[in-house]
């Protein structure tokens, strides 16, 4: 349970922290203007953006602090555990792709993703898990000529 103003304030503080980290990086002597820059440093535009970023974050923080006093807390209609599970499975998929190859990683991903999220009908589950990645592999490899990561155990797939 969080007020919208509180949520904005937390986000704005996070945003201010990011902009300060970027500002610290932009102030390094490495970025000073050289002869090839014709007087306009390569960091001129990024610095301008960082300052605008900082000002906007401060304005959002101010607005959030004003708003929080007049609001009632509202419940966020999102189950974070489910979203986090999804994120972790996708991370695992991305990690496994270069190790197992596209096809095997996709089969493993599909089976685990659909099982974790409660899909139980076996026939569609197997069809989607085994045939859909195979179809994509065929389209990319033979029709679009895009090489996909291959597994160490098979010749091309």
């Amino acid at each position: 349970m969080l007020k919208e103003g509180d949520r904005d304030s937390i986000f704005a503080l996070f945003s201010i922290a990011v902009s300060l980290i970027l500002l610290y990086e932009a102030k390094k002597p490495y970025y000073e203007a050289g002869v090839a820059d014709l007087g306009v440093s390569p960091v001129f535009f990024p610095l301008l953006l960082i300052y605008i970023w900082l000002v906007l974050s401060i304005l959002i923080l101010t607005r959030g602090l004003i708003l929080r006093k007049k609001q009632q807390p509202t419940k966020i209609q999102i189950n974070f555990i489910k979203s986090l599970k999804g994120f972790l499975i996708v991370c695992l998929y991305a990690y496994l792709m270069p190790i197992l190859g596209f096809y095997l990683a996709s089969v493993f991903f599909s089976l685990s993703f659909m099982t974790v999220f409660g899909y139980q009908r076996k026939f569609p589950l197997l069809i989607i898990s085994f045939l859909f990645p195979l179809l994509l592999w065929y389209i990319f490899t033979f029709l679009l000529n895009v090489s996909l990561p291959v597994s160490p155990w098979f010749f091309r797939i």
Partner: protein
């Protein structure tokens, strides 16, 4: 005559027609399924265009764009849930017609109005884009800089939610574009010693992460009630010409509204349909029945949202400034094919652009017939289990992002962008300005730095009477920023005092 045959011939090749057919079906499915929509469809399809010829790749994108906008109306009519936000107003009269047992007729009205709106907007595009490009040939770096400032402010301003957050979102996008090697000095910026970042942040992985992954993570966690669909039946029936003739005024007025709103950066089809629907409610012939199952409401909504497709392409093609994420992706598709949208586009690639206009007409016709055939299968499409669907979207998204450059590093970018997009969405920050900022970033920086070099580093010369267009554009931008910032802070203070 030979020129016309050549233009039509380029658009009517077998690969182009096949691309239109596939794009229409793909876009229609993504439009019908609530929550997916045009941006997701077009970002997933983009990697497939890399090895296609120019005409086929543009045709695929255009077909997806048109049919995904239209597809949203089918679910709005049948299950009272718009497939895309732009069809929200279609629901107000479409669903009551379904309850009256006239779903097939409602789909007929929506399909006919979408076709008319789409074709009307092509004619606007054909007329306006070359003229605008001709006018914009006078633009120097100062004017380009000022124009992008105004476009980004408008996009951030109307993306929904707080305008301050919209502007911040645009700044984040612009900042992502500066990461990597500076094109003017050759020095690397903000790469933190990561070799892969020296080449910059690619658009596609960010786009896929911000739109596809964020949407999937959101939907996985979202608590939404399911709509019962067992009793529903789709179908297609076109009303007699006499009925259409009674509502011609709304049809034309809505098409004009849609085309004009489409030209304005950041507004989009949802805004157009709401304006048009309100206008029909105010001045339509059957205004007293609108909201109770009156076809005039469907016409107003559907003609305007499909008319946006052509309108939105006007600034994208003529100025190289996309007004929304969909046209931003389409612009990247053109850039990948070696065509730079902007003021020189019509001078350098005139015949190709005329073929594109013709392809857009074909896309609208295909969209009409796909609607006729798909109407009876809509319920089957809507019954696809969400887990299966999200699983396929994730595989397609990661594969698409990887195939751009074949770098596994891009998968990391996708994941970071997905997580970042989720955090921004949690904080009610609009996501569209991030992508548009990333697309416009390089041109924006280049025009600013070129302008500074020309004017001896004096930025005030940008706003002098030597550059009246830039002056007007910058003052308009500043006025908008000041007004919205003041309004947001003042409104929150006023609310506090009244409490």
């Amino acid at each position: 005559m030979d020129y016309i045959f050549s233009v039509v011939g380029t658009a009517l090749t077998i690969p182009s027609l096949l691309a239109i057919l596939v794009g229409t079906v793909f876009g229609l499915i993504f439009g019908i399924l609530p929550g997916l929509g045009s941006v997701l469809a077009i970002s997933i399809a983009l990697p497939f265009t890399f090895t296609m010829d120019i005409m086929s790749s543009i045709s695929l994108m255009l077909a997806i764009y048109c049919s995904s906008v239209y597809g949203g109306s089918l679910s709005a009519i049948l299950i009272n849930t718009p497939g895309t936000p732009q069809s929200a107003t279609t629901m107000f009269d479409g669903y009551p017609m379904t309850l009256q047992g006239k779903a097939d007729l409602a789909i007929g009205w929506a399909t006919g109005a979408s076709l008319f709106g789409g074709l009307f907007s092509v004619s606007i595009l054909m007329f306006a884009a070359p003229q605008l490009a001709k006018f914009a040939l006078k633009f120097g770096p100062e004017e380009t800089f000022a124009l992008i400032c105004l476009a980004l402010t408008c996009i951030a301003g109307v993306s929904g939610g707080s305008i301050l957050k919209g502007l911040l979102s645009g700044v984040i996008g612009l900042f992502l574009a500066v990461i990597g090697t500076d094109s003017m000095s050759g020095s690397s910026r903000f790469d933190y010693g990561i070799f892969e970042l020296a080449a910059g942040v690619e658009l596609i992985p960010v786009l896929v992460g911000v739109f596809a992954l964020t949407e999937v993570f959101w939907r996985l966690g979202e608590k939404i009630p399911k709509t019962p669909m067992n009793e529903l039946k789709g179908g297609f029936r076109l009303a007699p010409f006499k009925e259409w003739a009674l509502r011609w005024r709304t049809l034309i007025k809505s098409s004009i509204i849609g085309s004009l709103v489409g030209i304005l950066p950041g507004t989009g089809a949802a805004t157009a349909s709401f304006i048009s629907y309100s206008e029909a409610k105010r001045s339509g012939r059957f205004r007293e029945n609108i909201g109770k199952g009156e076809p005039e409401g469907i016409i107003a909504s559907e003609a305007s949202n499909n008319a946006v497709t052509g309108g939105a392409l006007v600034p994208t093609l003529a100025l190289g400034i996309p007004g929304d994420p969909v046209t931003a992706v389409m612009m990247s598709a053109l850039i990948i094919q070696g065509i730079q949208p902007g003021v020189r586009l019509f001078a350098d690639h005139g015949p190709l652009m005329h073929s594109v206009f013709f392809a857009l007409i074909i896309c609208n016709i295909f969209m009409f017939f796909s609607g006729v055939f798909a109407a009876r299968f809509v319920i089957k499409i809507l019954k696809i289990p969400e887990t299966l669907l999200l699983n396929m979207v994730l595989i397609l998204s990661l594969l698409g992002a990887f195939s751009v450059s074949g770098r596994l590093f891009d998968l990391i970018i996708v994941l970071i962008a997905g997580l970042g997009g989720f955090i921004l969405r949690m904080a009610n920050v609009p996501l569209a300005p991030v992508v548009i900022g990333l697309v416009l970033g390089p041109i924006f920086e280049e025009s600013l730095r070129q302008g500074l070099i020309i004017n001896d580093g004096n930025i005030t010369k940008f706003f002098s009477f030597n550059h009246p267009i830039a002056l007007i554009l910058i003052f308009t931008t500043l006025a908008i920023i000041l007004k919205i910032t003041y309004k947001e802070l003042f409104d929150s203070l006023k609310n506090k005092e009244s409490k």
